[in-house]
């Protein structure tokens, strides 16, 4: 008997057989579109440097994706690599050398996604993995924040650092043009930044983590389209605000206010765009609450008691690792079975 040639294998699925209007490329490109306001805000605050860094990390991500998908499923144009590139770019400092941003994008896609089997198979958020690699590989360059707002002496067109450092070579750092982030000020000098500056984004920091307001609006659009589970950012915000309020009430001089905790650093960007990555977040709603509360707890712990001033990246990566476990313990009871025989 000769096997009948099928162009596609027969798809065996459980009912109900609804076909949704959303496809993977559509969702992915919508996320890219919703990131555009954030990119625009970052260009407004950091000038051409912001755009250059984002483009470089995107290039790294796309080139690596292309190298891997030459044989295999064609996921080059579904926008998922683009999201990784843009998100990675948004977490980098504006004066970051372009070649390092390219390396980060390539690492994120290569080691964060394609090695696990491509889109949908990865355990960790590729953009954050790329950033974690850059943080470990180039600890000095990634914590050199250029000054922004009124402290910035040059014109808008000026590059915010040595973006065009030659590949493999160290960037030249001009000390007068750099400054600490609000979290750094808080941790090492115990001075707070004004809440309005934090909300609007005219503070030092990574390219995309400055303007909390823009990120919230973009996130609200995605939540309304149901492209992200609103429970994840909500639980992160609630747990961070909750823990920070308790600590702030205990000792206001030592622990920053909850508003400061929410709007400083990468919390907004991480909670809205990175923790909600469909691949690396839990599938059940109950699991999403656990996931978000875990991230919130870890963020506050790292920021207050850890050696680093910012902990969103490691908090999300750690909780990513727990997602299979969370999915397992929050599995809903199968209809018709008794409560007791739930298998774990």
């Amino acid at each position: 008997m000769t096997p009948t040639p099928h162009s596609q294998p027969i798809q065996v699925m459980a009912a109900p057989h609804f076909k949704g209007p959303d496809s993977t490329p559509q969702i992915m490109w919508s996320v890219v579109a919703s990131l555009c306001p954030v990119i625009a805000a970052s260009i407004y605050f950091f000038g051409p440097s912001a755009l250059l860094v984002i483009l470089a990390s995107c290039a790294g991500a796309i080139v690596t994706e292309w190298a891997f998908v030459r044989s295999g499923p064609r996921t080059l144009f579904d926008g998922s690599g683009m999201i990784t590139g843009v998100l990675l770019g948004l977490t980098l400092p504006p004066g970051f050398p372009l070649w390092m941003a390219f390396v980060g994008g390539a690492f994120g896609i290569g080691f964060g996604k394609m090695i696990f089997g491509g889109l949908g198979q990865n355990i960790f958020n590729p953009a954050l993995l790329g950033r974690a690699f850059l943080q470990a590989a180039f600890p000095v360059a990634i914590t050199t924040w250029s000054a922004s707002g009124e402290a910035w002496a040059g014109s808008w067109w000026h590059l915010r650092g040595d973006n065009f450092a030659l590949p493999l070579m160290s960037p030249h750092v001009v000390d007068t043009l750099t400054g600490a982030t609000p979290l750094g000020f808080m941790k090492f000098e115990h001075t707070a930044t004004s809440n309005l500056d934090l909300l609007l984004g005219s503070v030092n920091g990574s390219i995309g983590e400055t303007s909390g307001l823009v990120i919230l609006v973009s996130g609200a659009y995605l939540a309304w389209k149901n492209f992200l589970n609103w429970r994840i950012p909500a639980s992160i915000f609630l747990s961070v605000a909750g823990i920070a309020s308790v600590l702030h009430a205990i000792d206001a001089a030592r622990y920053p206010s909850p508003i400061f905790m929410l709007f400083s650093g990468g919390l907004m960007l991480g909670a809205v765009f990175m923790a909600t990555d469909m691949v690396t977040s839990p599938v059940t709603n109950r699991g999403c609450w656990i996931f978000g509360i875990g991230i919130g707890f870890l963020v506050v712990s790292i920021r207050i008691w850890g050696g680093l001033s910012e902990g969103v990246m490691y908090a999300i990566l750690l909780m990513n690792a727990l997602v299979p476990f969370i999915n397992r313990i929050t599995q809903p009871r199968v209809f018709g079975t008794s409560v007791k025989v739930r298998s774990l």
């Binding site: 690699f133 590989a137 493999l168």
Partner: protein
């Protein structure tokens, strides 16, 4: 089973059954001390010497070692050579000795060495065991050098301490840290696996083409 020739015993361990790259044994030193070429080389040579000495004595005394306590006896023989190696390193290259630290003493429990005693030296003649030990030892040195040179060139921009890229090279600090060891080993194993898979696929397609012809 066909008896292997002396040449096979020697060559087997170097590449085709490389203890690190194929059998994935002895990962503790491979990951921990390969941050520079010098450390890797010294570690490789020390392990080579211990393996050679232990294989020689284990195969020499194999008739007198009671089967029930053979592992303890192997360990005793290995530990003797490790002590000798440690003293030699301390006298010859004190700085590297300091950098390698406890990992020299840990050669005792290196599973490449114990594995060769149990799998080969305990069953074969002295001559063949020595050849086998030389092969596996060289294979280990080769793997250590691959790891060490990749990590040092990327992590410091130097090879054996000689700068390769000039003064303004930006070192990739991560390659010297423990994650760099895991990443490098992963990349090496991945590349070798990919090459092997391609070669096998080519062989299969060549064979089917012959059958059709």
């Amino acid at each position: 089973m066909r008896k292997s020739t002396a040449q096979e015993d020697l060559l087997r361990g170097i590449w085709r059954e490389n203890p690190v790259l194929v059998q994935v044994l002895g990962l503790c030193p491979t990951l921990a001390v390969t941050n520079t070429v010098e450390n890797s080389l010294v570690m490789g040579i020390a392990t080579f010497a211990v393996l050679l000495g232990s294989s020689f004595f284990v195969s020499l005394f194999k008739r007198f070692i009671p089967n029930e306590i053979r592992i303890s006896v192997y360990i005793l023989i290995i530990a003797t050579f490790v002590t000798v190696a440690e003293m030699c390193l301390e006298a010859l290259v004190p700085e590297v000795h300091k950098a390698l630290g406890a990992f020299i003493a840990l050669i005792v429990v290196n599973c490449i060495i114990l594995g060769r005693q149990e799998a080969f030296a305990a069953k074969n003649t002295v001559w063949r065991s020595v050849l086998d030990a030389i092969g596996s030892g060289l294979g280990f040195i080769l793997a250590m050098l691959m790891m060490g040179s990749l990590r040092e060139v990327i992590g410091y921009g130097t090879f054996l301490g000689i700068p390769l890229f000039g003064d303004s090279y930006e070192p990739w600090v991560v390659m010297i840290l423990p994650p760099g060891g895991f990443l490098t080993l992963g990349v090496i194993l991945l590349t070798l696996g990919y090459v092997e898979e391609r070669r096998r696929a080519n062989r299969v397609s060549a064979m089917s083409a012959q059958e059709r012809a």
